[in-house]
Symmetry: D2
Subunit: 377 residues, 4 copies
């Protein structure tokens, strides 16, 4: 069950933390803290082992993985001792990280991506490859008729002026190369009817989107609490301060809007109504790779008594995301092997804006995930 994990954005913080962690797990130098698939209810022989995962990917930059890992160590994201101990393993992965190819058309770029993935699969004699998008968040897109069917999409991709988001080009390439696809970001990725058509035609599963790493994770247990107790949230406001690379991207109004909408969705769908308030994202370079989120919930109890709760979450997104990337690679590879096709709503536990699922309560999502994992052979 040798499984390739092809990371789009392979030199980004999430990807590098995932690679360092997987290599350290294989070497027995760390414990799988934060890996959901280690939960007693989820452990399964149907999933490839950490030692079976082989990493490669694309990126627009080409700084060596070791340099990127050292930068993360300096920022307190990964332990310096691990990076020092794993130099040669990280350099080996470096050989499988390709520069994101240029091309005159989306078709040409996709063909290059597809060829890179194929080369990777053959070189390592992999049973299958899961493509995981951990690149920077893209702005939300405008729907176009070319997105509606595979025929139309292919016609458009051959034209030099057709703009398809990089995440969707990556999904197209993944499906064309016979790979499952996971979108860990809020970008468009596989969420176009044409791409669903391609995945279905090639009998491939896909999952997403937008990894639930911090504030939304907390919301996904607090909102059900208010709902179960019939307490009426009169407002729910939040702010996310983040300093990492993604912060600068998300501070762009368009990306910010995409991410914020994804973050508030859990409230409306869990509570049955949308309380006043917004979720803001602010880029604060001084915070480095850590993120601080603060939420205020005001609510009414019996006889209208006004009450309130606040929480602050201070976390490192890369350290929270990386074990989930490993979980998703293992689960999606197993789903592929089990013949699952199309979206995987059973993986909603991992996502802020899960495909095809409507229950945003974390506990219910966990039950679904456990049943799903148990069904895999």
């Amino acid at each position: 069950m040798r499984t390739g994990v092809w990371l789009v954005g392979a030199r980004g913080s999430v990807a590098v933390t995932s690679i360092v962690g997987a290599v350290a797990l294989r070497a027995g130098l760390t414990e799988p803290v934060g890996c959901v698939t280690e939960h007693p209810r989820l452990r399964s022989d149907a999933l490839p082992g950490y030692g079976d995962l082989v990493f490669g990917g694309h990126d627009v930059v080409n700084t060596a993985l070791v340099k990127r890992a050292e930068a993360l160590a300096a920022a307190g994201v990964v332990p310096a001792r691990l990076v020092a101990a794993l130099h040669s393993e990280l350099s080996a992965v470096d050989d499988d990280v390709r520069q994101m190819p240029p091309g005159d058309t989306a078709e040409a770029v996709a063909a290059r991506l597809c060829a890179d993935i194929d080369t990777f699969r053959q070189k390592h004699a992999l049973d299958r490859v899961v493509v995981v998008n951990v690149a920077s968040t893209e702005p939300a897109i405008v729907a176009q008729s070319a997105h509606e069917s595979l025929t139309e999409l292919r016609r458009a991709m051959a034209l030099p002026d057709f703009a398809l988001p990089a995440s969707s080009v990556a999904a197209y390439a993944a499906f064309s190369a016979g790979c499952a696809y996971v979108d860990f970001t809020p970008s468009t990725g596989a969420r176009l009817p044409a791409l669903h058509e391609l995945a279905t035609a090639n009998r491939l599963p896909y999952a997403g989107h937008d990894g639930k790493t911090g504030e939304t994770l907390v919301k996904s247990v607090l909102a059900p609490m208010f709902a179960m107790r019939r307490l009426q949230a009169t407002s729910w406001s939040g702010i996310n301060l983040l300093g990492g690379g993604d912060g600068a991207t998300l501070a762009e109004p368009a990306a910010n809007a995409a991410k914020s909408a994804s973050k508030q969705r859990v409230l409306g769908e869990t509570l049955g109504y949308v309380p006043d308030g917004n979720t803001r994202i602010e880029y604060v370079p001084g915070l480095g790779d850590f993120k601080t989120a603060w939420d205020l919930v005001t609510f009414n109890g019996f006889l209208g008594t006004a009450m309130r709760m606040e929480f602050t979450w201070h976390g490192c997104d890369s350290a929270l995301a990386a074990p989930l990337v490993l979980d998703l690679a293992r689960l999606t590879a197993a789903a592929h092997r089990n013949g699952r096709v199309g979206p995987l709503p059973e993986l909603a536990f991992f996502f802020k804006d899960p495909l095809g699922a409507t229950d945003h309560g974390l506990a219910a999502q966990f039950d679904t995930l456990a049943e799903f994992t148990a069904s895999l052979t």
Copy 2:
């Protein structure tokens, strides 16, 4: 299905808020916000309606309910307009609140309590009565051989120097009078083998204990979140600042210890290990009837990265507890009618330290509660 609700501590804040609320609901002057049995998954015709509930009880003080309700209105716990509108209804309930009787022996006191409950039942032609303890928290007790069997307990209760906690005397009286019993406090109540024997002999159900109104409620969703995500809590510390009547009681070291242990239990049982840290209770009169709890959780993620979360909960205990008292009265009465005998672990959702239940995750407790409610006829 006319159902009596006999409150031990009937002039305390929780009891008075419950009575004002029930009377207001009957009069159509308020909505059942905070009533769990209003959740779509829990609504059931098997439960007595709010209008079917008739209130009475015991207390050591005898301030008129209207006076107590006005004091709560001044403190912002209940709306002044409701108290003003419900004067006569509250006065009517006052007729059914008896002074806690004196007596030379526990046996004598219990007999008086039992007689009061009987009189109440007959006066109002009630199908059944649920006794709910909402009196002040008692210190934890030392186990005695007299607690072990009904025969021994009865022998001891006849002796003038045998000290049985008031909550257990109340449970004894309730069971003797053929009533179900609910303990909303962390006091001993029905949790003695001898009392279990009595409940079983008289074919009665009981539930408890220690209503989950604030910080522990939040813990019961956050601890499962850390567990499901395999994040390792290195410490979990909390402080509860409260100014109400119960604050002074809980500040007593013995009661404090009882309550704190009950509050940390959820962590060990949910996480599978006990993180460093304690839960403190402080009496701060200046806070009035509101309570502020603050918790700090430090945790490790992937590769040992240290992270943290804090929350502040600012609530009014009486407003949070009162709708649960109505829920528990309705559910326990229905359980009694359905022939349930002994502890009701299905009501774990409501309690910090539930009888006979070990899953402290709120979502799982809710599922259990929903199934239980659906099974009632």
Copy 3:
């Protein structure tokens, strides 16, 4: 020393709370909590007494003051018992609140305002009147040549298409009527060279601007703490959630920008550098008349160790502002009587963006204020 207080925005929350409070103080029904001029170092016979203050003003709406006060009581801003007890006093003030006059030119409007103030002064035989702007925040304005001199301004005010902010029209009218002027908002008000010329010509003092009621007040003591301790703030970010009438106004991007800039200024000027981060203002109707601000400060200590502090401020702006309005009226009236002309930088203690003052440390501002008050006769 009978002193008029002419409020621009006289039916707004701040104004009504100020009026209710002053009338209650006169009637001996409350204590001057939150009145800075009650501090032992500031008490002075040179200031008019609360009983000497007579209220009037302009507003665009004409809801009765009693109605407005009742609404504030329902929202928890003022005690209902005070409003009930002071009906006739509030009605008496109502007679002196005029509808904001229409007019084809700024000149015409100013003439009407001026006449209203004159009538008020004569009716009550007042020694002097202080005009205080507590109307909604206006957007920041673009500088124009007509603002530069009184001659040019007067020429422009006669033209129908010349747009002068309402706060500046009010300042013009105040100065024309021989009154001191205080701007409690971040609006332009008296801050135009032409209006300074008018104040100086008429021998009048003025003060402002933007009352320091919440988050900025806290910043004005915390920023000096970091500066005195030579701790290096790497980021300082804040969010203000507010639900009152001003919230909707401030959520407008232009007004938001004006207010936010005013709020961050204290940092740069106190620390000597500007840390990363912004101050956001969000309108959250569900919060009612209360405001919650949250700030995160990250800082480095010795040898670069990273540390952090957060604070949450939950306050009622009207209750915080009203006593300062009384303080400012008393102090500015006394300054006028003492022959002070032009801006009063000694009142910097009260303002986020004080006129002519650069020390934003609260303790230093208080010392300056105490010396100023002691100098008044």
Copy 4:
């Protein structure tokens, strides 16, 4: 102006961080962040330079300083690169750290301490030595008649069963050796009439006590804010969670009481009344060398409106204390050189419970400190 800094508790976290920092400053490897004497208003040629400070001291343990520094680096308190770069300098200091001597009587111990300090002074040809106590906090003591005069104290110290706190033995030894003494802890130290007599006789200054590093620092600016604004604090409660070595000591009820009293004092003396509430100290090993404090202040504004503020302070005590130790050594040495005798109330800025000073407002304390520093030659 070569100045010795003799640290009691020289292998503790505060001492080691101070030594690493001073050595790094001398080597030009770091900036004096957190050093108050670097403030433009405090810079003075009358103070010895960082390069003039020579370190030595006593401790009960004898782990090498380099080992202790490496442990602090692993805990994130000091940068690993500094420790690596300063190995030889730290080893050199190690030669001047003596084991705390045993002795049958306090007199014998003091004589040994005194001799060690003398040797240190001569070895390094120091102009003067400042003894600074940074050892673990001791329990509060019971007053004894032997504390009242130097004659009585000396008589008692010769008896084998007379228990004098280690901090007072150290102060006795310091004064006997002709050294100024600073108490950075809440221990008794020089605060005995007999020791004051000795300091005065030997013409020596002393300062203390209890360095103001975290929560109390914040209180010392917030309490004056409430006082200046005449806002009425109805409660002020705090909790300090700390995991370092001192945490275990402070969790002992007696030491806890000493420290807590010192922490609440600032409130009573600044506000003029003591609000409800306490300050708790909890030992939470999982927090390591960092400390998290949370405070809740509830307050009333105009017309009794209830409001609240909270703050969380997350700091590293050693990193906060170390630069102050350097400041105090420099200032006290200069005071000694300038002929100052007895307590130095002008150093109140640095302490929770300052000797002979009553103004607990940080800004006033800073002004006093600046004047004092300017007066030194």
